[in-house]
């Protein structure tokens, strides 16, 4: 452990993300937005919501990794984001365990 309890962060360069990366991500996000709206008009049955959510997850990942700099951040911050995601998924899946196994209700 280093002197000030801040481990490798002190020695980690403060990485400045430049405009080129931002513009690239921006265009990717805009293309995905157009894509998701376009696909919505095509009947793919049960795949429609799946694709819509997949594109949304991809866009969110781009924002988190590059606009919010997680790609360049410490392990601690990566772990923090992961734990938030995990807890959100626990809320969803474990509540669903009740709803999908109910005999009543319109599931």
């Amino acid at each position: 452990m280093s002197q000030h309890g801040a481990t490798d962060l002190e020695h980690q360069e403060h990485h400045v993300v430049g405009p080129k990366v931002y513009l690239l991500i921006f265009f990717a996000l805009m293309i995905c937005t157009g894509l998701t709206t376009w696909v919505a008009f095509i009947d793919l049955g049960v795949l429609n919501p799946v694709i819509a959510l997949a594109i949304a997850c991809f866009k969110a990942s781009l924002v988190v990794l590059f606009f919010m700099h997680i790609h360049y951040s410490s392990k601690l911050l990566k772990l923090t984001v992961a734990s938030g995601l995990f807890m959100f998924l626990v809320l969803i899946t474990m509540t669903l365990s009740d709803y999908i196994s109910r005999a009543w209700g319109l599931w």
């Binding site: 998701t36 924002v63 911050l77 669903l96």
Partner: protein, 245 residues
Amino acid sequence: MDSPAIATVNGEMHAEAHAHPAHLRHHFETVEQQREAASFGMWLFLLTEVMFFGGMFMAYLIYRNWYHAAFVAGCNTLNIWLGTINTAVLICSSLTMAMAVYSAEKRHKKSLITYLILTIVLGLAFLGIKSVEYAEKFELHHVPGPNFSIEQFVHPTNPKAVALAPDMAEKTQVYFSLYFAMTGMHALHMIIGISILIILVVRAFGGAYTDGHMTTIENFGLYWHFVDIVWIFLFPLLYLISRYR
């Protein structure tokens, strides 16, 4: 008097400390520690926001499956083009916010202020379009409460729309409840964000954030991107349900 039981860091540490930048708070040892702590704290706050919105996403998930036809009908009353434009507007604002952070890093005061103002403008544009949408919903009696009307769903005027049985038509109120709750909560977060942005612009004029201490801009950027991410999910979930009909 402290017990000599605790060994201490060399006394020079304190003298050295007075050569530190003005913005270093005394309970931190280094600027880097302070920066990392602030960033970590902001991310933890964003985790609380994820769980906060999570409750509403849970509700949405259940009711969309229970009342799918009602959700389809409700969704098709939303203007998909306004929704898409709004999504694009927010993505632009995320770009301008990221560029604002970059300008602060590079200590360019003018570009910082420009990008912050652009972010405000785009945020206001989003809210403007949103209020147009809300006004339309109000006129069509789609706001949940005593004035809610299912007329349009039981006897649709649009020939391509599917008529709903009255009890399923009633359930469109659940869809609109979630629509207003989720987009309303998101809009509230945008309003708070824009208010803070205005304060940041004023302070940036005074020279703040371009003197090497730009943690505030960095962490506000995280908040703004998070609000963008919420909309990235709200858009397909609320606007893109079975649009091919």
